[in-house]
Symmetry: D5
Subunit: 94 residues, 10 copies
């Protein structure tokens, strides 16, 4: 089932450049794994902001929570979750 997830990242001042670079690499690696597993269906950057719009396809909210809370940058994120479903006007099967 599909969930829209909006993530905004706020890095505190005391996170050093090295630490942030490493966290970002880990984040991207984890994001790619989840995309290859077709759990993280879409991942787009919001233009001009340290934020993304994502679509997840998970078995239930618990799996979604497990995935999000294990992301390397999770503790610096503000997260909004919205449950989605098939739209009668859509030609996608969902």
């Amino acid at each position: 089932m599909l969930f829209q997830v909006d993530m905004t990242v706020r890095i505190p001042r005391d996170v050093g450049g090295e630490e942030l670079k490493k966290l970002s690499e880990q984040e991207h690696e984890r994001a790619k794994e989840l995309q290859l597993q077709r759990k993280w269906l879409h991942l787009w950057r919001v233009a001009g902001r340290y934020a993304n719009l994502s679509i997840f396809d998970v078995d239930n909210p618990a799996e979604l929570h497990e995935i999000l809370s294990s992301l390397p940058l999770y503790r610096f994120m503000e997260v909004e979750v919205t449950a989605l479903c098939h739209h009668p006007g859509s030609i996608e099967s969902v």
Copy 2:
């Protein structure tokens, strides 16, 4: 280029059942055309609300405006547009 579009529909009390049914059919027909043209990439229902989350792939904001403002239910919609771009952690080419 990609835009996230959030549409919330509010039908006024004086729109009759027949009129609404007809408008919805026209809306879905138009939505399907635009999906087949690959302009309207994704269309999901927000669970529990008369609202959708959509992703459009258009040539520019002007084309997006032309498409949205010509939707049969446009005059009853509250619309939010967000410009998207490739995310460094995404494996989609966008």
Copy 3:
């Protein structure tokens, strides 16, 4: 899976007393059916407001949307949906 649903009802001025009484009865009848099916787990009144806090246990967001959008008072409701999952400190199995 569990979803928190907050429903606020706003009855337009032109809905007559008779019509509203009938709609409310239909709403309560439908609510009881869904509670007996264990789809609508909890239904509480928010003190002082024409609103409720509800917990639904459904198979997916699509089923939740189908249930909510078929409620007799749905067209007069403002609805907020929040996906829930097991809390590590809870002794309920969920």
Copy 4:
């Protein structure tokens, strides 16, 4: 009587991993005690957030305040309290 309590936890940067782990364990222990006493009726995680939705059954608002303000993580919480009561459409006795 029933109260809905929404708790969002924000851990300051200077709380160490050890301290947080210990506080969380104390929090869960206290939560379980209160659940076994049937004071804390329900405790659900909000998917994707360090937050919960809880239902308390207490004798009065003073008891609710005493319970909440004594939680080990209370000083890091943002709390919203909503008074609930029986809903005419509910089949629960409350």
Copy 5:
């Protein structure tokens, strides 16, 4: 137990002067009854607004809901309820 209740009244355009005058008289009559019963402890006008700040002393949220929802102007009110309790710095016994 004490609850703060903020009531804002919004009279629709089609309520005639006579009807409003009658409703207001009924509202004041009911308010006085409830004050004499010591259920409605305080009732203050918010300066410059068609709104009030009230303190109720009721047995439980259900009684509060019953009282508020039976007020003659209730259907035109926007209501906010806040649960109160004894403050350690207060010399009132509450």
Copy 6:
């Protein structure tokens, strides 16, 4: 004349336990003095929050400001002031 004052207290992380305990005692002492002088008419705890709802009876806004800004915890407070007056439905003389 009466003013509603909502005070929310936010203690910064670097205020030590000893300092806070001392400030709270001074705050309560000052609050009691002002209550005995009938300047601070009511002081209630908002259930679940480090906040209060207060009613002051002062000669003018300047006196209110002088009182509030001299409270020991004032520099950690977020304060909202609302001017009140007699309500036509109230049986209190104000």
Copy 7:
């Protein structure tokens, strides 16, 4: 004592041009009276909006409420009241 009052006017569609013109004239007449009495100290238009920023000098909040609620356009206004006092950096005596 001084109060800042922000008034925003929203004229419903069914108020005719004649009625509105008459109400505006009555409003201005009343405003001038109150200015000559030095109750309504300042009255400025907010550029681009059907709104004003006003400063009143009244004996108490009750007088302010009486003045505002008797304005010819009051029933179409959204009003915000803020209590003011002498600023230590001001050279006005207030």
Copy 8:
């Protein structure tokens, strides 16, 4: 031309008492100069808050910005600017 300026001051924890006292004195000195020049027409304290409501009479927005950004406490202020003009019901010439 007139501008309403709302300034809210938030002093960070690490500004010492001596520094703040000095800054406040400089602020008041500067405020008095600007009042004597009739640039800063009015300066009122918002009761209960470290905030003020001010009216400036400047040649243009650039002069207003220059004045505000050179205030000793400017870096700790949250500022809201509103353009004002003559109100048809006012007896002031502006």
Copy 9:
């Protein structure tokens, strides 16, 4: 001097298609006049919304108010005005 003006248009249901078409033509005519006079410097459509972002160059806020309040669609607009000035990093003279 420059002002940013955000205008959002909300046409009530009872404005007929003919009336709206006529008002829009008058609005565009007036907008062109003001652009040719270099009062209305820029006028852009916000993509997806019945709204615009405009830059005005006027002598003072009073002239801005006079211009805006005389627009044919003004009574259906929600207007936000922001005073602008030269930015130190800009190569425009303003």
Copy 10:
């Protein structure tokens, strides 16, 4: 294509005067380059605030993101992006 960009700058307390001065110079240098390239069409200061209103003319949202995220002060900015297009009442070709 055009985008409105609102940037608000918040400099943390621990950025020294020297560092800030250097960053501002770099920011202005970069802003001038981009203006000369006609990518950054307009740059105005919001009067009274450490904020600007900007208009960018870029090839796509990705270019906009690249430009904004490479600004020297970007990490201290809160950014809002709005897609613009030709307005039917405008005499500019866009």
